[in-house]
Amino acid sequence: MSEWLVLLIAFVHDLSVAVYVGGAVAMEFILAPAQSAIPPAQAQIMGEKTSDRFLLLVWISLILIFITGVLRLYAKGFIGGETFFHPLLGWDYSYGRSLIMLFGIWVILVINGLLITFLFRPVLQGKLSTTTDQTQATRNRNAKMQAAEWIQNLSRADLVLAILATLLGASLLRGGLM
């Protein structure tokens, strides 16, 4: 692999991590408080539009992190050799343990992303029809509140996991965390 390609892969990897982690921090600590400063109807529009766009960025980042992560390992000769997986990538070595944990975190982030995108967001976006009675409306409102709570909790868990992932990722430069 040429040096420029290795640089490009590393750059895209770092950029994707930055978009995920920095975006999550911005959503939690900057955009959410700003949303509470405007009237509820406008806040709802802002919340919907920011969440839709951020989810798109999250998915692009997660896919790019995985692809460029694998390519970086390939460029370093850790995968694709005679044994396909280099012995250093095993659980017996600190580097391997850190990398396996990183992959585990990535899988959890993907699962959480799937839950938010396909389970909780549709509940939150559901609209009432003109034939909806009072009981259905109450049930619908409760479901929306529960979905919003789940999204908030999962997003916070994702932020903590992403920060842990950056710690593990940085430790790989020194041979692993533990």
């Binding site: 590393a10 750059f11 770092d14 920095g22 911005a26 959503m27 539009k49 920011t50």
Partner: protein, 153 residues
């Protein structure tokens, strides 16, 4: 220390990208008066967060390079990174001291319709100016990250 440096980068750059791609996108669907409120509110927090990240980046970055012996090409990259860092601090100061205060809408009941229109126009121009500088900041930050990546590998 590498982790703190990387985290500061991630928060700074990711925050800038979010402000541009997420907040700007949402603003297209909001009323102008609310856009100014959100811009002021988020801008105030964002610039403090950015300033903290830039200071951490400088401190941890300099600590990292003092431990290693650098080649000439690495010195050029370091000089480039410091130049870009200075530009980012300059833009942040411009946003904090000049552009964000200009976005404050000053309307009172004693003002004529014409004066209110002029005031709204002034705020609109300030928002456009902020958009330009936030984009410039984002471009420079991405370039700086490329320099940082080149130094790390």
């Amino acid at each position: 220390m590498i982790w703190v440096h990387n985290m500061a980068w991630a928060v700074y750059l990711g925050g800038a990208i979010s402000m541009e791609l997420v907040l700007r996108h949402a603003q297209q669907f909001m009323r102008g008066s609310q856009v100014a409120v959100v811009c002021q509110n988020s801008g105030r927090k964002y610039r403090w967060l950015s300033l903290a990240c830039l200071i951490i980046l400088l401190v941890t970055g300099l600590m990292r390079v003092t431990w290693v012996q650098m080649t000439q090409s690495e010195m050029v990259l370091l000089f480039g990174a410091l130049l870009l860092w200075s530009l980012l601090v300059g833009i942040l100061a411009l946003l904090a001291l000049h552009i964000h205060p200009e976005m404050h809408l000053r309307v009172s009941s004693s003002m004529t319709e014409e004066e209110v229109r002029t005031e709204r126009k002034r705020v609109g121009v300030a928002i456009q100016r902020m958009d330009f500088w936030v984009r410039a900041e984002l471009m420079i930050a991405v370039l700086a990250m490329m320099v940082g990546t080149a130094m790390a590998i």
